[in-house]
């Protein structure tokens, strides 16, 4: 029963990873951009949510109505200013620029909010749970996170596959110049993709802020797990990212059940095994040519 519980909790944790990774996956997929500022941006959103809750007293979930659009706007501006220029430079540029951005954001937050641990208070929801069997109980909030994660991935997948803009995004990701020749403004498309991605980071950040305590340097920890989810699933494949998150979550929790000192380690090892045997991830987007 412990094992069943571990699997259930792992799947649920995977939902959080997928939610965290969705924006990363989108930017990876559309712009081939490895966004190392992803974690820091999530923490920015968490602080934003916290300040809103503390200052205005609005319910935590209502902050999403402000945090997500504001983060989306941040994403838009970021792309139009720094990232579009970076994408025109050498291959290393985006990695370096987003890394620099992460350092800047982290330390600005340190100046603004100090290194104190903070959290977004959701009151009694924090401890609420649903009893599934006598031995398995699932937290309501983690469950909400999981459902939101799945919903976000599904919506994003549909958006990319079925809408004109989604198609334009994929086309631009394949060949930027050719897309321009189709009448697509690549800077607009990229900015839109980044806006969506950073908006999703905002969503994930608020959920993270409710789930645990955060401080300005907390982003690094989440970043590596989100990356693993994206890569296990295969670059650019959103369903892959969801599966990647779930596989990672289950590996960590079930791993910890077997070897409590090595849950995180076993998660990493599963990740490396996937890479060793399927270097392009489990659900790669295209056969590379």
């Amino acid at each position: 029963m412990q094992w069943a519980n571990a699997i259930v909790q792992g799947v649920i944790l995977g939902g959080l990873y997928a939610l965290l990774a969705a924006g990363l996956s989108l930017m990876f997929g559309v712009m081939r951009l490895v966004n190392l500022a992803h974690g820091a941006l999530a923490i920015v959103a968490a602080y934003m949510g916290m300040v809103l809750v503390n200052k205005t007293g609005i319910p935590p979930f209502a902050t999403l109505l402000i945090v997500v659009p504001v983060m989306a706007l941040v994403g838009w501006v970021l792309q139009r200013t720094l990232l579009n220029t970076a994408l025109n430079r050498q291959a290393l540029a985006p990695i370096l620029v987003t890394f620099g951005l992460a350092v800047i954001l982290q330390n600005l937050m340190l100046e603004l909010f100090t290194a104190d641990n903070q959290s977004i208070d959701v009151g009694s929801l924090a401890g609420a749970s649903i009893q599934i069997t006598p031995d398995i109980a699932v937290g309501v909030f983690p469950l909400i996170t999981f459902v939101v994660g799945v919903f976000v991935i599904a919506a994003l997948q549909l958006y990319l596959a079925k809408t004109t803009t989604g198609r334009a995004m994929r086309a631009t990701s394949d060949d930027r110049e050719a897309a321009q020749l189709m009448g697509i403004d690549h800077r607009h498309i990229y900015a839109l993709a980044t806006a969506i991605a950073v908006g999703l980071v905002g969503l994930a950040g608020v959920f993270l802020g409710v789930r645990t305590q955060f401080n300005p340097t907390f982003g690094d920890v989440t970043l590596i797990f989100a990356f693993e989810a994206v890569i296990i699933g295969g670059l650019g494949s959103l369903w892959g990212t969801l599966w990647g998150g779930i596989i990672l979550g289950v590996a960590q929790v079930v791993g910890a059940q077997a070897f409590p000192s090595s849950g995180v380690l076993l998660g990493h090892i599963v990740f490396l095994l996937v890479l060793a045997f399927r270097p392009t991830g489990l659900f790669p987007k295209v056969v590379n040519g």
């Binding site: 290194a115 959290s119 937290g139 645990t212 960590q252 910890a256």
Partner: protein, 422 residues
């Protein structure tokens, strides 16, 4: 806001003498984590250092009959032990400090002490239990020290304090242990079980998990299965929050939870929302301590109030310990009568100071105040965080155990009795 750090780091106070001619300057180096993940430990340093600079500028030290100005040079360890070691070596070899001080977790204290040993410079540290400080060689072998001195409580005090809590609430005496694989977690898990075993408590702890773990289902199911009615441990605050919320969700409800580190700072407890109520923790220092500074005469209550008005934040426990470092250093310098380094360590080896955190006394052979040479013990108490429901702060730390401190001769008033968790 944490305030700007730059004005503390440049040497100052050297010229500001209020009482006649200054014969020289003593340089005190101070290493603290001001940025990075350990920054909460260094947060109050700025306040205390400014307070001390202000004091020394008006009250030069009298050493060997001469008046000395005091230069305090602060270096940021950036929460990194390698940087902490480098900072200490830099203070010694480039800034030429006479004495080095450091505070805040073994990650900072240990490398600074190592650097001072290697560079033959006196060093005074605190804010880390003495066991991880002493046992840091190969296989946790006890190191011997010549130049470095430490004062703090030890794990035996935590064990005693926690048992004092636990005795106040009826339980099955089964304890679940949540220990991370870091210096604190290693030291606690290595010592606590035998220390509480004598009184019939058994600690069930799964192998140490790495910091940053995102899911504690394995630990929770182990505690549930073992029916551990008591929870203890020394997790970092984010991990404890993750754990505690999950424990509630998965139906693990211990009767009492006594946790170190995660519950040290009020901000961490605030961040638990209402789930922080009645969690208990060891208390190093508290405004109600019946002590005062041997240097400035300030009382704990006054110092905390001053901190709260200056920074607008709730008082924290490291404040007293940072102040105490300066008391000890000043006492050592004046007692030794010179700034000679060898002379200073000789003085330190038997130095006795009644500081704002309690009595600090080293002795060359193990004794009641000094479990091992170079280490002095300070009193410990215990308390519970209670929701104030509309008070100045969300939570107040209410003292519920003073057994250890009392046995060491410090009579700390209790604020209440230990209450069981809901």
């Amino acid at each position: 806001s944490g305030g700007s750090i730059n004005n503390n780091t440049t040497p100052s106070a050297s010229g500001g003498s209020a009482s006649g001619a200054v014969a020289g300057t003593v340089k005190i180096g101070f290493v603290s984590p001001q940025t990075g993940p350990l920054a909460p430990f260094g947060e109050s340093d700025t306040f205390v250092i400014n307070y001390m600079k202000d004091y020394f500028s008006k009250n030069p030290l009298m050493i060997g009959g001469k008046s000395y100005g005091v230069d305090i040079i602060v270096k940021d360890a950036q929460s990194d032990s390698a940087k902490a070691g480098q900072a200490a070596a830099d203070l010694i070899n480039n800034d030429g400090v006479d004495i080095v001080m450091a505070a805040g977790t073994p990650d900072i204290v240990n490398p600074v002490a190592d650097a001072c040993e290697a560079n033959n410079t006196p060093c005074i540290t605190d804010n880390a239990p003495w066991q991880p400080y002493v046992l840091r060689g190969k296989d946790g072998i006890k190191s011997t020290f010549k130049w470095t001195y430490h004062f703090f409580w030890g794990l035996e005090d935590v064990a005693a304090t926690f048992q004092d809590f636990w005795g106040q609430v009826p339980t099955n005496k089964k304890v679940g242990g949540l220990f991370p694989n870091d210096p604190d977690g290693q030291a606690w898990s290595g010592n606590l079980p035998t220390m509480v075993g004598a009184n019939g408590y058994t600690i069930n702890f799964p192998p140490l998990y790495p910091n940053g773990t995102q899911d504690f289902s394995a630990q929770i199911s182990s505690f549930k299965q073992n029916n551990d009615e008591i929870l203890t441990g020394v997790p970092i605050p984010p991990d404890f929050t993750t754990f505690w919320k999950q424990a509630k969700q998965q139906g693990y409800n211990p009767k009492i939870a006594s946790v170190g580190k995660a519950l040290l700072f009020p901000s961490s407890v605030d961040a638990l929302g209402d789930l922080g109520n009645n969690l208990s923790t060891e208390v190093w220092w508290h405004p109600s301590w019946p002590t005062k500074s041997s240097l400035t005469g300030i009382t704990p209550k006054q110092l905390c109030d001053q901190y709260e008005t200056t920074t607008g934040k709730q008082w924290t426990q490291p404040i007293g310990y940072v102040e105490a470092l300066f008391e000890v250093a000043a006492n050592a310098l004046t007692t030794s009568g010179s700034t000679d380094k060898a002379n200073l360590v000789k003085t330190l080896s038997t130095l006795s100071t009644d500081t704002i955190v309690g009595h600090v006394q080293w002795s060359p052979t193990a004794g009641p105040t000094s479990p091992t040479p170079n280490v002095a013990k300070t009193p410990l108490a215990g308390g519970q965080w209670r929701l104030t429901n509309g008070g100045a702060h969300k939570y107040e730390l209410v003292l519920t155990s003073n057994a250890v401190a009392t046995s060491e001769g410090l009579n700390i008033p209790l604020g209440g009795k230990e209450e069981a968790l809901p």
